[in-house]
Symmetry: C2
Subunit: 173 residues, 2 copies
DNA sequence: CCGTAATTTCTGAATTAACAGAAATAGGCA
DNA sequence: TGCCTATTTCTGTTAATTCAGAAATTACGG
């Protein structure tokens, strides 16, 4: 049985998921595992959220492909148990990484094709605009690589650092 | 009649839109206006993309609410013409700003409620996790405010700066 | 090697979102 | 005021997604 807070958190998370192109079940299961104290078998998820077994199974596979959820084995129990990454900064990183791989990278590819085609074409405006988009997305990509590549620093450290630097640069003379 | 590049760009943009929770028509219209050389009346959009007039009307309203598209009036023409923001960095900023207002801010509110409720509750794990999420989202929010609040600097300058600082800090001794 | 429990895959139903067309409204001009 | 054009709102349909249940597969224990 879920507590009120847990239930509300899961519902909100699910709702947010749908807005960001993630299906509700996946987001809810993720929220549940994120708050769970111990690894949960699929059955427990089915009971807690009232979803079909198959749905839970597919959603868990999806979450594993994002590396947000891992399988654990419990001694004397044949079932698989699932845990979510609980470090919120790491969760964030994994989500950004996943979207990058699935969407930004292909978009970069596509933009490069479009840019070539536009150069060959007869539309200076289109050529310029696409070149600018390409440059911008490329820069975001670089920036992301930098941010996550920093040895020993997670996104939180990075954000703190950026803030601090900004304060130094912009403090009143 | 659209050129091949333009058409492909619009299709790709539309596809990306759906992945990020934006409806296809809205994203396509945005792409079309983004590449357009001059302000376009709704009819022209209908013809170019083969959408229903009503759909175009609603989508334009949506885009205006994001400030991504503005209305222009052309002398001697009663119809409204539409232009998109073409500075890609500004487009990026507006999208982030929109999502922040519509989703992050309400989420922050909700998280604060959950955090209070969790404190009152009897689940230390839940309390800790939610507190961490709240802290992290709050930090992102701050960071965003800093990034966009920088006088005279757009996201591009900010990204460049961040990269440069990172290089300085991490260069081999 | 067979039986059982666990899990995944497949298929169809149901829900939701996107969209076109019709009807209604607003805005200007004679 | 009355007409014409542009635009929006409303409503029903279509398409896409989500999801449950059944069937199939896999893994394990005896």
């Amino acid at each position: 049985m879920l507590s009120d807070v847990t239930r509300d958190f899961i519902l909100h998370w699910g709702e947010m998921g749908t807005r960001w192109g993630v299906n509700r079940s996946v987001a809810q299961i993720h929220a549940l595992l994120f708050l769970a104290e111990a690894p949960l078998p699929a059955d427990a998820i089915v009971e807690s959220l009232g979803l079909a077994r198959s749905n839970v199974s597919n959603s868990l596979k999806e979450l594993q492909s994002w590396q947000l959820v891992q399988v654990r084995h419990v001694m004397g129990d044949r079932r698989e148990h699932f845990v979510a990454v609980t470090d919120i900064a790491e969760v964030f990183r994994l989500i950004v990484e996943g979207r990058k791989q699935r969407e930004i990278d292909p978009t970069l590819q596509a933009l490069r094709r479009f840019a070539s085609a536009a150069e060959a074409g007869r539309e200076p405006h289109v050529q310029t605009r696409i070149a600018e988009v390409l440059a911008f997305v490329g820069m975001l990509d670089q920036w992301y690589a930098t941010m996550t590549g920093a040895r020993g620093t997670g996104p939180i450290d990075y954000l703190r650092m950026a803030q601090e630097i900004h304060r130094l640069l912009h403090r009143r003379p």
